[in-house]
Symmetry: C2
Subunit: 451 residues, 2 copies
């Protein structure tokens, strides 16, 4: 009696070719994050429930994978922020601040299973944690990292949208809606989806009960559009009425000013007054990143500035700023939208060697020489007909097949077939190597996402 093999729904399991692309995405993330001086971190997937759920509640807690093992009440992490808070509080004395870390790892949420929703998924986070204070320049650097990351992945049409929670909270105080700021922000967040008329209705309706004049002020405010310079200039009109607003405006100005120096072109960055981010703990700059041709996907990378990362674990005040890419969902979307670059070399090897002799010694030596030169090689040693071997080569999508028979061995050459052009060349090792390396370099020039 066999057990039916299956993978749980909501758990991504890729076929080899796609997995290689996923891994290439991960490699780009690691490399780019490193370029900005973030150090890699790895924390356990299982934590004590007491520690992991110190802050959680409501919706989050329901989704947790929580269980007992022996006497221990354990949970699987549901994000990478809580483990970071624990890590920084626990290892505080051993860390240098500002502490800049990246972490790419799986997290778990028992959400209702549906297409494109995952229960196990990768997040790729960066955070900069200060000890007591953290300079505003860090808030300008985060969108620069995101710009570089997406650009390196090959994405062209995207925009990092930025707002500031001080500015928002200051503004809502200005119009006498400070106590309703949370509800108002959640409503305003729907602007793109439902339009200004509907937002106005909700703001003045039973739930929030703003006066018409207040709603008008708010709609005028979030209606401020234009270049970043235009938006900042328009915001200057509000200056002097609320200290928090003024501080937020200064921060937004500083972030915008430094972005060019960080190498981010203006069109990849927009001050957008409708962005608030749902989470209450953001206190300064907030970020969302949208794919311009796929606004329906929503933000693929979000985050912001917070004032106290680890308040549940320590008395130390640890302000920080960070963002998170939902890698599994991003990969899923890119795949669905046919945006993954099929031209990427996703074969398990660069060369497949087909030995044509009973003794494999020469073929193995040839494989070893190619590998020593850094070329990825598979040796096909199964007893199959020639057609079966070539079928295998096609199936794995290997770029080059090298044949080695008695003739080649005695002549000191090998026959190398380019599987794309079909061209087959008999040549000595060094010449074949040069040809293969040149071809591979061309292929490697492409990005994971189609340009």
């Amino acid at each position: 009696m066999k057990t039916q093999p299956r993978t749980l729904s909501g758990f991504m399991e890729l076929l080899p070719r796609q997995q290689v692309m996923m891994d290439q995405m991960m490699a780009v993330l690691r490399e780019t994050y490193s370029l900005y001086g973030f150090t890699p971190l790895d924390t356990p997937i299982i934590e004590s429930s007491e520690v992991l759920l110190a802050k959680a509640g409501g919706e989050t807690e329901k989704q947790i994978y929580r269980f007992s093992k022996g006497d221990s009440d354990l949970s699987l992490r549901f994000d990478l922020t809580v483990p970071l808070a624990k890590y920084v509080a626990l290892h505080y004395a051993d860390l240098a601040f500002p502490f800049r870390r990246y972490q790419i790892g799986k997290v778990y949420r028992g959400e209702r299973a549906q297409r494109g929703r995952f229960r196990e998924f990768y997040q790729a986070d960066i955070d900069i944690i200060g000890d007591g204070k953290l300079d505003i320049a860090n808030e300008a650097e985060i969108p620069a990292v995101i710009y570089k990351t997406f650009t390196q992945l090959g994405l062209k049409r995207f925009q990092v949208r930025v707002n500031n929670r001080k500015l928002l909270n200051g503004f809502y105080a200005m119009v006498g809606a400070a106590e309703k700021a949370g509800d108002v922000m959640r409503t305003v967040d729907k602007l793109e989806k439902i339009g200004p008329e509907k937002v106005r209705e909700l703001l003045t309706g039973e739930g929030i009960c703003l006066e018409a004049a207040q709603a008008d002020e708010i709609l005028r405010f979030i209606g401020i559009k234009g270049s970043n310079g235009d938006v900042l200039a328009a915001l200057e009109q509000y200056r002097g009425r609320n200290d928090l607003f003024d501080a937020g405006l200064d921060e937004l100005g500083t972030v915008t000013k430094y972005l060019a120096a960080f190498g981010v072109p203006e069109e990849y960055f927009a001050v957008d007054l409708t962005i608030a981010r749902g989470l209450d703990y953001y206190t300064g700059t907030v970020y969302e990143t949208t794919m311009l041709d796929h606004p329906e996907i929503g933000s693929v990378c979000s985050g912001g500035r917070y004032d106290n990362l680890a308040e549940y674990y320590t008395d130390k005040i640890l302000p920080g700023v960070g963002i998170s890419i939902g890698v599994t969902r991003l990969f899923y979307v890119l795949n669905e939208q046919k945006m993954l670059n099929e031209a990427v070399n996703a074969a398990p090897a660069d060369i497949l060697i087909l030995p044509m002799t009973a003794d494999l010694g020469s073929a193995i030596q040839l494989a070893t020489r190619f590998r020593e030169a850094g070329v990825r090689v598979q040796l096909y040693t199964e007893q199959k007909k020639f057609k079966g071997k070539m079928n295998y080569a096609d199936k794995i999508g290997v770029p080059y097949v090298v044949f080695l028979g008695e003739d080649e061995i005695s002549a000191g050459v090998c026959s190398c077939k380019d599987m794309v052009t079909g061209e087959q060349v008999k040549a000595p090792f060094e010449e074949t190597l040069a040809r293969v390396q040149a071809g591979l370099a061309l292929r490697a020039a492409g990005t994971v996402i189609k340009g």
Copy 2:
């Protein structure tokens, strides 16, 4: 009321410097496995218990992290072999065989907590799975991958030890101990620990009940030592008495013969008749890898040939060969033995820029230029005294600090201090970049493990 932050015992959580070294180890593993044409795989950490435990039983089952979520009976994977079996059975139609995959991932075993034992740990596995058949050449390639992997990591004094289960089973049949072969192999496995006298006692004792003559034959057999050629020659004396033995001897001969072609020097590879590997499912070549200066650690990388990977899931016969490195334990041991290379550049950045002006624009531009050249940069923008900033540089172990004040900006230069030599040079960007890159190249030449 604060929650005490803690990490569960048996779960490795590294400080930044060590984490970088761990990541460098992982990078070497990925790169080397790829060189031999293995494709990366990633499977869920959670599987249905029915699927994951189709085969398991006894000791394994007790250690499983198993729990319910909704109606689902779930378990965390305890190795990477069962998920591979599931994957190959499930995706059989989409895979090309022989299927060569590597997987580096966390696995979970609720073992008794003790120093150096982990409940969450990384395994790094390679396997080659055939469809119906799998050529013996693959069994010679596995030790070659291991040799290359450990050599790339910087380990010098290690040895891959190889035996063959057909040879062993054939031999035990020859001496009339076929039905006791399992018990005998487990006893013989202890030879190094307890010595031949004690092994003899156990073999003839109450548990196994071999006759003295049988025990003598066995001790003579496992006493065969010498160069691989010597051992193979000695084994030839047994040829012709048992078909299985003869087949095993042929395989051992072939594996040994091809290893040189695979580039493995003789001293890194030993035919060792005492090795059996506990697991019943190995059927051909078996491997263990020992660190010559630390035999007490036991095997750091083991595996072998098996005849049917996925028999619990499919009727397809899927023979394979594979090995597994216990990365977390290996890292722990290397760290304990002070074998990690402290000279490795494990800082989060190559350059720390200290802006000496209120406006950060020029410093940010400089950071951007270095990053565009591939140099990892941190900008230190906190308001601290000079000493505090230099303390930070020391603490993160950054190789270079670049100072940028009004003087430097107006002269179009930057001041770059080598934090090892203390030498400080004022020079234009290109010159500084060249100096830094040359220094970094020197550092990058080292391996993770001390030579």
